[in-house]
């Protein structure tokens, strides 16, 4: 069992989910409340990674991060190395790939918040930021939990992008899904099976926890 790959994957998924909260909330807020007539274009761009195969995302990320592209050259001048085959490279690829899985649940739950409450908050003199944190966000808690869980889970299970930009370096870019793939290719079925079972168990526990947290009845605390 390759625990290193597990730790790496969990580190990647936690980091990506956390960053997606930071960048996903403003994007979702804008998508929900903007009245810009071309807004649908932005919505389509955010949803693109759901439709595009991971190979397309991986290919673009590999080329964009490589030394032939301006971004790649800029990063290399800044840090002395390119982003492909590094943990940061995986984070960037995963952020793109999991973005809609955070933004869409956020935006969907913002949209269910009663506009009268937002208007009331405004008439009572609260700023937009204060209204967001005191009214919109608490009422969207379930969407927030779902978005975080989905982006975490989606990054845990990511394969194609990692295969294309990772380079399979132990402890740096060899995630669990790549490890399982390698075990299967090398015909080590028993070891592939072990890793897969642990991954299955972790995923089940995480998802169960999310759905349990999201249960309506628990808005009344169960042990009180």
């Amino acid at each position: 069992m390759d625990w290193q790959a597990f730790l790496l994957t969990i580190r990647l998924a936690v980091l990506v989910a956390a960053i997606l909260v930071l960048i996903g909330l403003p994007i979702a807020y804008w998508i929900t409340y903007s009245r810009w007539r071309w807004k649908f274009l932005a919505e389509a761009v955010v949803a693109l990674p759901i439709v595009l195969p991971p190979t397309v995302v991986g290919f673009y990320v590999l080329v964009a991060l490589g030394p032939h592209s301006p971004i790649g050259r800029w990063w290399e001048a800044l840090t002395g190395h390119t982003l492909a085959f590094t943990f940061q490279g995986l984070v960037i690829g995963s952020l793109l790939y999991s973005l809609p899985f955070a933004v869409q649940p956020f935006a969907a739950s913002f949209a269910t918040v009663d506009p009268k409450l937002i208007a009331a908050s405004a008439t009572l003199g609260a700023s937009k930021l204060r209204t967001f944190f005191r009214v919109i966000l608490p009422l969207s808690a379930s969407g927030l939990v779902t978005g975080v869980a989905l982006s975490f889970a989606h990054t845990m299970g990511e394969f194609g992008v990692v295969l294309m930009v990772g380079g399979n370096i132990p402890g740096v870019t060899r995630t669990v899904s790549i490890d399982i793939y390698d075990q299967v290719q090398a015909s080590n079925y028993s070891s592939a099976n072990q890793t897969a079972l642990v991954l299955l168990a972790i995923s089940f526990v995480v998802l169960s926890a999310v759905y349990a947290l999201n249960r309506r009845v628990w808005t009344v605390w169960p042990w009180k």
Binding site: G72, T82, A84, L163, G167, Q185
Partner: protein, 258 residues
Amino acid sequence: MRIVNCLANLALQTVLCSTFAWSQGITLAAAADLNAALFELAANYQKQTGKTANLAFGSSGNLFNQIQNGAPFDLFFSADEDYSKQLVTAGLAEPSSFYRYAVGRLVLWVPVSSPLDIEHAGMNALLEPSAKKIAIANPQHAPYGRAAVAALRHFGIYERVADRLVLGENVSQAAQFVESGNAQVGIVALSLALAPAMHGKGRYWEIPADAYPVLNQAVVILAHSAHKRDAAAFLECLKTPEAIAVLQRYGFVPEGKH
């Protein structure tokens, strides 16, 4: 309603046509190092017989694994003949069809503009600080990856470069890592360095053949093949002087002429 009907018709036709095409031709599962050469050989076969040959590339270990699990291929070209032998032993390939078509060779490959002086420094070029990432195929299931690791050990530099190795899923991906500029140097198949797609893009230095175990490459007809006659015809094509010349052009030396 008419649109729905039209779409349904179209879908049905697509399905029928594709099954038709599938049953027409043979499907070859081939090691990634044949990526360029086999297209040429398949085109020749098509010209001679009027039948199609579909190509599926991957690492030999990957394809071996798929065949063990019932992949519908007719022929299997392995960069490591052990995989072909194992299929024969397991009853998954025709023993009499076993044919060693070439010996694979390993090269250092860098982009044309690379500062690495592989022509003079040879393997020592890998120790240069500018060789930040070294691409090889995954030694777990790609024969060229195993050969690359063996060569690095032979020259006593494996430990010194191990943390700079990046693994391609097969030897083609390792070459692509270098071509896209994300790795500075790769240890790949000579056939890929000689492929038309790579022409003018890179320089190579051949790694001495005694530095790694011989990469005997062998093809077998699979026991589950539904087109054994056509597969055998392809094998016959492969044994003609023309085909051997094509393989040689891609750096696949015949057995014994190393």
